[in-house]
Subunit: 283 residues, 4 copies
C-alpha cells in the first residue's frame, strides 16, 4: 500500500519544534513526502503539517500516536493524525438545488474526492433517486412546524453513520446552536456571497442592488454565529451590467460548487488548521 | 409567452446598416430588449445581434424572415434568426470521463442550459444508466477496427434526432473530415489545454513538463484541422509546484467543465458569430 | 482626423428608441463604429452608447447637439456627447503613497490613458519633483487644523484648471459634502477593499482578522455617503495564510492601481452611465 | 536587527534529510520562521527552503556556511544561503517601453521590492532623466551594426556593478549565447505571451489572429534557447471581441508589469529553485 499519514499540529512557537518533530520522524525511519510549516510571528503560533509514508514506518498509526504523545505534550501541541487509507466519513445535506450536491457526487464517483459518502439527508425528495443511482443511502427528513424534531432526526442519522464531516450543500436551514457545537469544525457550509459582504438572505439580490462587479462564494466551517465561521475557501466571478439577478444566481452556482468542492478537498486532506476563527490552509 | 427572437448577422461594413435594421424592426413595432453591434474597422466587417420581444411584433418568425430577406440581400448580410421558445436540439457525445457530461446534464436538468438534449452517444456504457435517470436516450456505439462504421452510425443518430448542435464532452475520438464538414460550426469540442499551447495528446503532461504556472481549457468549434477551429471560450487555473500530472488532470476537470458549459451557453443563446476562423461573442 | 463622438444616453424604455436614434444618425451620414445598448427590463430603463465617426458627419459637435436636442427631449433622454479629440481635463490628488499616482502618470505618459492631466494636488510634498518630471503642475496644499481651508484651496485649484474629472489616487482625506455635491459623479476614488466588505479605515487589517482568502479594491464615484457611491470597477487577488497585513498591503497595491486605472479609463471613454447609484459600463 | 537567512537547497530524496537539516539548525539555536519542503516523488528529488532568524544563531553567515558544508556534502545537496539584510544587486535593462521599468522603479522606491538597483542600461535615452530622478545611474549603450560591441559594453557594466540579477524589462534585443551562459539563471525576462503559446515576435498580433479569449505574459530565466527558459511566473487577462491589437498591447502591459515584478520578487526572496528547466516556487 502506498498510503501516508497526515500529521497536522499547532502550538505556541519556540525554537526547536521542527527539529524535535522531524528527529522523531527520522528516528523512526519515517519518510516525509510533503511538509509545510508556518509561523505566525505576530501571534507567536506555530503550524505544521506532514505527510509521512506509512510503509516507511516500522509501526502503525496507533503506535505512532502512543510514541508521539509525550513529545506533543512537552511542546503543548494541539495535533491530529489521519491515515490516507482510511476514508473520512461524510454526510451530505441538501435541499432543492442540485448544483453543489451533483458536483460533489460526480467528483466522488470519479475518484476525485477521496472520502466515504455515507448518506445524503434532505428535507425534500427531489434528488432521492439520483442519490440512489450512486448507491448512497438517502434520508428524507422534512422540516415541520417544530424544527427541533427535524434536527433531532438529522443528528441521529449523522451519529448512526459515524460521520466525521457534514457538508451543507445548499441546505437552506439554519442549524441550532447545539448542533453547531456538537460537530465543532466538522460542518462545512457554502454561502453564496463573498463574505463578509452580503451576510444573510438573498445575497445575489443584495449584490445586484449594490452594483458590485464581481460576485462570490464562501466555504466555511459552521459556528453558532451565522456566516461568521472560519473561512476555508472563496472565489469570485465577474458580472456585467446585462445580468439580472437570475443571471447572477446562475453564474453564482458555478462559483459555489467550485468553492465548496475545493474547500471540502482541503478539509479531507487534513490541510485546514483553525486558529482564532481563521484557517491556515497548508497546501 | 415571453419569448424573443435572436437575430444575428454579419456583413461588409457601410453607413446606415444599424439605421435600416432598426427602422425595419421599429416599423413593425418590434421591441428590442438587447442589442450588440461591433464593427471590425481593420477588416471593415460589421456584426450585430438583436433580441426582439416576439409578442411586440404583429407576425411570427416565418413572416419576419420573409419581410427581412430583401433588406438582408440588399446589404449582403449573412444572418440567422432563432426563437427563444424553440429549444436548440443537442446531441452529447462522451467517452469514459464524466465531469463534462455530468455538469451539462445537471445544468440542463436545473433549467440553467436552455436546450433540448435529444440523446447521448458514447463508445462506452459507463454512463448509460445515469443518462437514463435523466430520461434521455443513450446510444452505445462502440469503436471497432473500422472506425468509419462508428462514424456512420453516429451520423445516422445525429440526423435521426435532427440535432442542431453536437457537443463533444470529452469524447476522445478524432472526427473524420466529412463529419466535420457536414456539421460545420455545429460541433463543439472541449480541449484540455489553453490553445494554441499543447495541441494534441496528453496536454497536462506537456504542461507539467514545460513547467507552466497556469493550465487551461479551450472550447472551440470542430473543423477538419485538429485543435485549430474557432475558439469560443477559454479559461485557466493556477497550478503549484506541488502538483503532479494527476493533480493537474483533476484541477483541469474543473476548468474544462466550466469552459465547455459557458461556451455551449453562448452558442445556444445565438451569441457566437464566426468570421475568419475567429468568434465574436456578442454578450 | 480620425476622431469620433461618444454619445451616451439613458431614458425610460419604449419601442422605437434605437430606430429613431440610429435613423437620426444615418440621415446625417453618421458612421457608427461602436454601439452598445442595454434595456433594464426590471426597471424599464434604456441605456445606449454610440461611437460615431466625426468625419462621416457633415457638421461639428455643436450642430449635432442642436439637431439632436428635439429628439432627445421627445424621448425624455438624459444624454451627453464628447469628442474623442478633446481630452478630458483631469486633476489627480494624492497623499504619501505613490503606487496609484505613479501608475496613472506612466500610463498617461505612454499614451495609454487618453486625457489631459492638468495638475496634481497633494497634502504632502513627496512626489513634487516626480510630477514635475512629467511637466505637470504640482500644488502642495497642506491639511491644517481647519480642514475647510484645505478644501477651499483644493476647490479653487480644480475650478481654475476647469477639471472635469478628479481622481483620488489614495488621497487619504474625507471630502466634505459640499465638494462631493459640487463635482457630482466627477470624483473617482479607489477604496482598498472589495466593497461593501471592510468599509472605513484599515481594510487590510479587517481582511486579515476575518481570514478572507481574497483581498480586493473598488473604484467608485464619490458621494457624500462614504464608500457608498456607484461602483465603477473591482478586482481581487488571492492571499495565502503566510501573508501578514504588511504583505496584504503590498499585494493590494497591485490590485488598487489596476482597478483605479481601469475604472478611470472607462470613465474617460464615456462608457459609464450611472442610474440608481449603480453604473452601467457600456464596453 | 531583524534579518533572516534564506537557505534554499535541492538534492536526491532520501529518508532523514529534514531531520538532519532541522537538527543542525536547532542544535545551533536557530529559530525557523518559515519553512517549505517539497518532494518530487516522480523524480525522487527533494527541495527545501528555510528562513532562519539571524539573531537566533550564535554566529554569522560565514560560520554557518562552514559548519553546514559537511552536512550538505554528505547529503549531496545543491544549496545557497542569502542574508535578508544584504540586498541583491540588480541591473535593469530596457528599451523604449516604460511600463515594466516604471513599475519596478516605483515598487523599489516605495520599499516593496527589496533589492539594490545598481543601474539601468538602455539602448535608448528615453528614460534617462526619469531613472536619474530615482538617483540611479543610467547607461546609454546603443546597438550599432556590430551587436557584439553592444553586448561587450553591457557585460562590462554588469560586472562593474557586481550585479547578481539582470532584469530585461522589455529590453528588445536577443542576448548572445555567451551572455546567457555567463549569467546562468541570473537573467530574468518578461515575454509578452502566455508561453509556450506565441513564441517569438509580435505575440499580441499572433493572439489576435488566433482569436484567443485570454492573453498572457511569462516571466522566465533567460537561456540560450529563446523563450524556452524556466518559467517563474505567468498570468493572463481576458480580452473581448471588441479589442484591436492596439487594445491588446495596452491590456497586456498591465499583465506584463505585474508578472515581471511578482517573478522578480520571488527571485529576490530566494524562493525559486530550478530543476530540469522548471522552477519550484517555495512560497
Amino acid at each position: 500500500m502506498n498510503n501516508h499519514y497526515r500529521l497536522k499540529m499547532s502550538c505556541p512557537d519556540q525554537v526547536g519544534i521542527v527539529s524535535q518533530i522531524s528527529q522523531f520522524i527520522a528516528n523512526n525511519q519515517g519518510s516525509i513526502t510533503e511538509a509545510n510549516h508556518h509561523t505566525d510571528l505576530e501571534n507567536k503560533w506555530f503550524f505544521m503539517r506532514h505527510e509521512i509514508s506509512a510503509k516507511s514506518l516500522p509501526f502503525g498509526m496507533e503506535e505512532f500516536k502512543q510514541k508521539f504523545t509525550p513529545l506533543a505534550e512537552s511542546l503543548n501541541i494541539d495535533w491530529s493524525i489521519t491515515d490516507s487509507a482510511v476514508k473520512n466519513k461524510v454526510v451530505l445535506m441538501c435541499s432543492k438545488q442540485s448544483h453543489c450536491i451533483a458536483d460533489i457526487l460526480n467528483q466522488w464517483h470519479s475518484g476525485d474526492l477521496d472520502c466515504d459518502i455515507t448518506c445524503v439527508i434532505s428535507n425534500h425528495r427531489d434528488f432521492e433517486t439520483l442519490v440512489q443511482w450512486y448507491n448512497i443511502p438517502f434520508y428524507y427528513v422534512p422540516v415541520g412546524e417544530d424544527k427541533s424534531e427535524h434536527f433531532e432526526k438529522v443528528t441521529e442519522i449523522i451519529e448512526q453513520h459515524e460521520a466525521e464531516t457534514i457538508v451543507l450543500a445548499r441546505y437552506m436551514q439554519i442549524l441550532p446552536t447545539e448542533v453547531c457545537d456538537k460537530f465543532h469544525h466538522q460542518i462545512i457550509n457554502i454561502h453564496h456571497s463573498f463574505l463578509p459582504s452580503f451576510i444573510g438572505a438573498k445575497p445575489y439580490h443584495q449584490a445586484y442592488n449594490r452594483g458590485v462587479k464581481l460576485i462570490g462564494a464562501t466555504c466555511h466551517y459552521v459556528t453558532k454565529d451565522l456566516d461568521e465561521g472560519p473561512i476555508i475557501e472563496q472565489d469570485v466571478a465577474r458580472v456585467s451590467h446585462r445580468m439580472t439577478t437570475t443571471d447572477m444566481v446562475r453564474l453564482g452556482k458555478d462559483v459555489e460548487k467550485r468553492v465548496l468542492s475545493n474547500g471540502l478537498r482541503m478539509h479531507l486532506e487534513g490541510r485546514v488548521i483553525v486558529h482564532n476563527n481563521k484557517t491556515m490552509i497548508l497546501d
